[in-house]
Amino acid sequence: MTNAPSTADDAHEAVVVDRITKRFDGTIALDDVSVRVNAGELFGFIGPDGAGKTTLFRILTTLIVPDSGIARVLGSDVVEGIWTLRRQIGYMPGRFSLYPDLSVEENLRFFASVFGTTVEREYDQIAPIYVQLEPFRTRRAAALSGGMKQKLALCCALVHRPQILFLDEPTTGVDAVSRREFWELLAKFRAGGLTILVSTPYMEEANRCGRVALLQRGRVLAIDAPKAITASYERPLFAVRAADRFTAIRALRAYRNTASVYPFGEALHFVDARADASPDRITSDAIDALHAAGVTDATVSPTPATIEDVFMARMGAPEGEEPNAQRGNPA
C-alpha cells in the first residue's frame, strides 16, 4: 500500500478516508467511501443497521483493513501506522466490551494500567464523567443500567488521553434521558478540543454534531452540517394532520398530484408532484382531495424538512425492494 505524501492541510485533518471499499463474503459493507474530519470536530455518521458505520470505525481503529482505498488518522496510515495509532486513539465499540464481573473502579484501573498510566494521573481528563460514575464505584459493571454502562465505557476509552475518539453507536438502546446526558458529555469533551467521531442510527441526533455523513448500505448520501443538509431538501414539504391518519394516507396515495406521502410522527409529510404549483394551491388541492375521501378535519401546512426527510429522499429503495418502486409506497 502506498502512503500518499502529507500535505499542509493534513495538520488540520484528523481523519482522511479516501475511496475505501470493503466486502464481506460478497456483501459490500463500504462502497467507495470518502470523508474528511477536521481536528476538533464532533462528527456524526448517521445511518441504520447495515449502513457500514461499524466497518468504517473498525478500519479507522486499525482492527480490519480495507480491500481498497486509503485511510489516515492523525496523519498515520491505518494499515502501516497501526502501533502508533493504537496508543493515540480511543475506541468504544458498539457492543458493551468491559469486564462485567469487575466493578466500575476496577474496570477503569484496568484500562488505565494497560496504557501504563493511572486513574489519578489522568483524573482531570475523565473528571466530567467520573463524577457521575463515582456513586456506583463499587458496583459490578454488569449491574449498571444501560446509560451508566455507556458512561463507564466512555470513561475507559478516555483514560489514556487519546487525541481522537471513535464511538460506535454509544446511544443505541439507551433511554432518552441517558442519551441526552451522553451527548452533553460529548459536547464537553469536544469543547476541550478532542476530535470525536460518533455513529448513531437515531437521525435526530445528527443535530448534536457539527457535521455529519449520512450513510446507507455502504454509501455516503451526504456530508455537511445538519442545517445545510436539511436546507438542501429540494421540494416544498407539507405536514398534513388528521385524526384518522390511516384513511388520510390512503387518500393521499390515491391523489393524482402526490409525489410522496409517509407518516411522520403526529403528522403526514406530503410532497406535491407539481413543480409550478403555489403553496396555497398545493394546500387547497390537497384538502379537497382529502375531503373527497371523507377526511374532513385535515389541515395542511408547510413544514421544514428534517434530517430524516433528506435521508429518505436520497436513500433509494429499502433493501430487498425494487429500486424503481414508487416513493412512499406502503410495504
Binding site: D49, P135, S178, P318, E321
Partner: protein, 254 residues
C-alpha cells in the same frame, strides 16, 4: 375483520407490583380503547416491562386490577394468551426456518384451520411483497422484512390486542414508516396496539401515550396535547423533564 368489542381493550386500575420492598409498578391506572395505538414510554427501570408482563398474564399483580380483551389478568391469564399478540425486537421469528415455515409454526400454535392458515399466509406474503422469498430462511432476509414479518405473524391469529416491544430498532427510515403503516392498518381494522419504544419521535405516531417514571404514570394523553400543556416542542423534551430527576440514583440499576 371482527367488529370492535364493546368496552375497553385494556383496563388497568391501581395496578401494582412489588418485589420485596421494591415497588416496580406503583398504582397505575389507564384505559386503552379498541383500535387505539397506545405508546407506553418510560426510562430503563421505570416499570414498563413489569407492567407489560402483568398485562400479558405472565406475572401476577400484587394489587389493583387489570383486564385485557375483557379477561382479568389475575384469574384468566390463559384466555388472555389466545386474545393477544406479542412481538419483541429480540425474539419473534426463528432464523433457521423459512418465511413460510415461520408463519405455519405460529398458525399451529394458535390452532388455525388449514384453510385459515392458507388464506392468511397468502395475504401476508402479498401484503409484504414477500411471495418470492417464501422459501428463504428468515436469517437471510433483510432486517426490515423480518420486522414486518414478525408483526404480521404476531397478528396472524387476529388478536384483539397486540403488544409491540421496541419493534423498529435499527431499520432505515423508509422501512420504519412502512412498519407504522402496518400498525395503523391493524388499528384501523380494530386491533388495539400497545407499543414501547426508545425513539421519542416514534411516540408521536401514537394516538395516546403514557410516560412512566419510577413505577408511576406521570403523564398521559395525545402527544400534541401533552406537548401543548407542557409548552415543549417534542415528547423527548417532556420525557427528559419528567424522568431526569429520578434517573439512576433512586432506582438503582435496571
Amino acid at each position: 375483520m371482527s367488529p370492535a368489542p364493546s368496552g375497553e381493550a385494556i383496563r388497568a386500575h391501581d395496578l401494582t407490583r412489588t418485589f420485596g420492598e421494591f415497588m416496580a409498578v406503583d398504582h397505575i391506572t389507564f384505559d386503552v380503547k379498541p383500535g387505539e395505538v397506545f405508546g407506553f414510554l418510560g426510562a430503563n427501570g421505570a416499570g414498563k416491562t413489569t407492567a407489560i408482563r402483568m398485562l400479558t398474564g405472565l406475572l401476577a399483580p400484587s394489587g389493583g386490577e387489570a383486564s385485557v380483551a375483557g379477561h382479568d389478568v389475575a384469574t384468566e391469564s390463559e384466555a388472555i394468551k389466545q386474545d393477544i399478540g406479542y412481538m419483541s425486537q429480540r425474539f419473534s421469528l426463528y432464523d433457521d426456518l423459512t418465511v413460510r415455515e415461520n408463519i405455519r409454526l405460529y398458525g399451529g400454535i394458535y390452532d388455525l384451520t388449514p384453510s385459515e392458515l392458507r388464506d392468511r399466509t397468502r395475504r401476508i406474503l402479498d401484503r409484504l411483497g414477500l411471495a418470492r422469498a417464501e422459501r428463504t430462511l428468515v436469517r437471510a432476509i433483510p432486517l426490515g422484512w423480518k420486522q414486518k414479518l414478525a408483526l404480521s405473524v404476531a397478528l396472524l391469529h387476529e388478536p384483539k390486542v397486540v403488544f409491540l416491544d421496541e419493534p423498529t430498532s435499527g431499520v432505515d427510515p423508509v422501512t420504519r414508516r412502512q412498519f407504522w403503516e402496518l400498525i395503523y392498518e391493524a388499528a384501523h381494522a380494530g386491533t388495539t396496539v400497545l407499543v414501547t419504544t426508545h425513539y421519542m419521535d416514534e411516540a408521536e405516531y401514537c394516538d395516546r401515550i403514557s410516560i412512566m417514571v419510577s413505577g408511576r404514570i406521570e403523564a398521559m394523553g395525545a402527544p400534541a396535547e401533552l406537548k401543548k400543556q407542557a409548552g415543549v416542542a417534542s415528547i423527548d423534551e417532556l420525557f427528559v423533564r419528567l424522568a431526569r430527576p429520578s434517573a439512576e440514583s433512586t432506582r438503582g440499576a435496571a
